[in-house]
């Protein structure tokens, strides 16, 4: 059940929040031992909040579409009185005395918190093969990774353990698991959603956002999450706007837009099945009325170089004090990433920021030519757990590099990006597609993504053995 469907069912009296919540808690009991999506489950909080939501709805107090909806939070968002581990040994016993703004806003909107979902240690990786809390498993094939770092959130949503979840994205951490697990993810423009209370990884690249079953659900979540927060210095002041797509004919939306399909980089080194799925989706959307333009995008390798360097230095700045004192508490891959950041000269970081501003201008002008850019999310479907390299179009590639190279640069630009279901590979693994929009064109991007989703009509399949 989607958030929108559940919201309707709650208001028509078909179901109560307590029933929805019990359904999710039962699924968690049944599936979490195998899939390991949750680090902490909070049944008492969930039952109390659900009962309150029911009582309020009964009394005619309606807080909006998230009222009474059971959701999960990525375990790097601080939660008052509930431990927040960041998937790490360092924070394994950290119990915050405050809520992250995202958590606070969703609670005020009446959402019910089921618990905290697992992630790649410190959100610094894509596999969720967590050395401290165990591997998170992909529900479509438990021998495969769910992607990360917000893997637990994506698994929870894909299986119905939660109706929606929060995630964070520094180099693809919402979009990668959305693609590998067959759900929807949205990374808004940098500054749109407050990061206050999200344990940081790279302060100028981190984004908080929703992971949901549909793009409409992502829009419903964003409606609550977006908005200026004085507690986050990167939060922007903007006039209030609605992110929820108006009910309109998707064909009319598609007929009014130009979609750019990149001729270079994005489709160059990519698995055949993934490529075929994306191009078929593009063809279907074109048949439904959208105008496609083939064109060369600015050099993504250059953008990725700047993003990689920025990420490494900022992650080192966050973790260096902990790493100095407690190196043994870090997983090898995270420690290795932080060490690289420590080795980069300060001058290189400043030059990278100058280049970043330049690239932003170039990409912004480029996006004047189209309403959005359509790309693959990752060049592969979910790889097996424990595999460090993958074969991509007959070339061996590091799993982290392969999973992030089509995404990381967008974080350096700070532009919005949506991931929706495009289809499934012949072996039954999900494939998503990415739509990149103009900065602060989040509402328009959601409208386009919603039209795509409706036109494509990709079936929301349930992972095997989950129904």
């Amino acid at each position: 059940m989607t958030v929108a469907e559940a919201a309707q069912a709650l208001r028509s009296g078909q179901i109560s929040s307590s029933e929805l919540t019990e359904g999710c808690l039962n699924k968690i009991d049944k599936l979490n031992p195998q899939l390991n999506a949750f680090i902490t489950v909070t049944p008492e909080i969930a039952r109390r909040q659900a009962a309150q939501a029911d009582a309020e709805l009964h009394a005619g107090q309606d807080r909006g579409p998230l009222h009474g909806i059971p959701i999960a939070h990525k375990d790097l968002l601080c939660t008052l009185g509930v431990r927040t581990t960041s998937g790490s040994k360092i924070f394994a016993d950290y119990v915050p005395d405050f809520d992250a703004t995202a958590v606070e806003r969703l609670a005020e909107a009446g959402a019910v918190m089921l618990g905290k979902t697992g992630l790649h240690e410190h959100a610094c990786g894509v596999t969720c093969n967590n050395p401290h809390f165990g591997p998170i498993r992909n529900p479509w094939d438990p021998s495969r990774i769910p992607g990360g770092s917000s893997g637990g959130s994506a698994v929870a949503v894909a299986t119905g353990m939660a109706l929606a979840a929060t995630g964070s994205d520094t180099g693809g951490s919402i979009r990668i698991p959305a693609h590998y697990c067959g759900v929807t993810g949205f990374k808004g423009t940098f500054g749109l959603v407050s990061k206050y209370g999200a344990l940081p990884l790279a302060f100028s690249l981190d984004h908080v956002g929703p992971i949901t079953q549909t793009i409409l659900d992502s829009a419903l979540m964003l409606e609550i999450l977006a908005g200026h927060d004085p507690k986050d210095p990167s939060s922007v002041r903007r006039p209030k706007e609605s992110f929820v797509p108006a009910p309109e004919d998707p064909a009319a939306v598609l007929k009014s837009i130009h979609v750019l399909l990149p001729r270079n980089f994005f489709f160059e080194k990519i698995d055949t099945d993934v490529k075929r799925t994306i191009l078929l989706a593009a063809q279907n959307v074109e048949s439904a009325g959208a105008t496609f333009v083939m064109g060369a995008v600015p050099d993504v390798n250059q953008l990725n170089a700047v993003a990689n360097l920025t990420f490494a230095v900022e992650a080192a700045a966050v973790h260096e004090p902990y790493l100095r004192k407690r190196r043994a508490s870090y997983g090898a891959d995270v420690a290795s990433n932080v060490d690289i950041g420590r080795a980069i000269p300060a001058t290189a970081y400043v030059q990278a920021q100058r280049l970043r501003t330049r690239f932003q201008q170039v990409w912004r002008m480029f996006l004047d030519k189209a309403d959005c850019i359509l790309t693959p999310v990752c060049p592969i479907a979910a790889p097996p757990i424990g595999q460090n390299t993958v074969d991509v179009a007959s070339q061996l590639e590091d799993v982290r590099v392969a999973s992030t190279r089509l995404l990381r640069g967008i974080n350096a630009l700070g532009f919005p990006a949506a991931v929706i279901r495009a289809g499934y590979t012949p072996s039954g693994l999900p494939v998503g597609l990415q739509l990149i929009g103009r900065p602060f064109g989040d509402a328009q991007l959601l409208r386009i993504a919603h039209a795509f989703e409706t036109a494509l009509g990709v079936e929301r399949l349930t992972p095997p053995d989950v129904s």
Partner: protein, 54 residues
């Protein structure tokens, strides 16, 4: 060995071969990209005085 790796070693940061390769690749990229910088413009807006108390 690239300059960044040497400098890191001098500062006591131990890097394995894979890390050195990644670092070298980054150094090459940034050196090449430096040609795109407009050296006359302000380096970047990393600091500004806030007018309104947050």
């Amino acid at each position: 060995m690239a300059d960044w790796s040497k400098a890191a070693e001098a500062r006591g940061i131990e890097l394995n071969e894979t890390q050195k390769e990644r670092l070298e690749a980054m150094e090459k990229s940034v050196t090449l990209l430096a040609a795109m910088i407009d050296w006359k413009e302000e380096p970047c807006q990393v600091f500004r005085v806030q007018e309104d108390p947050q």
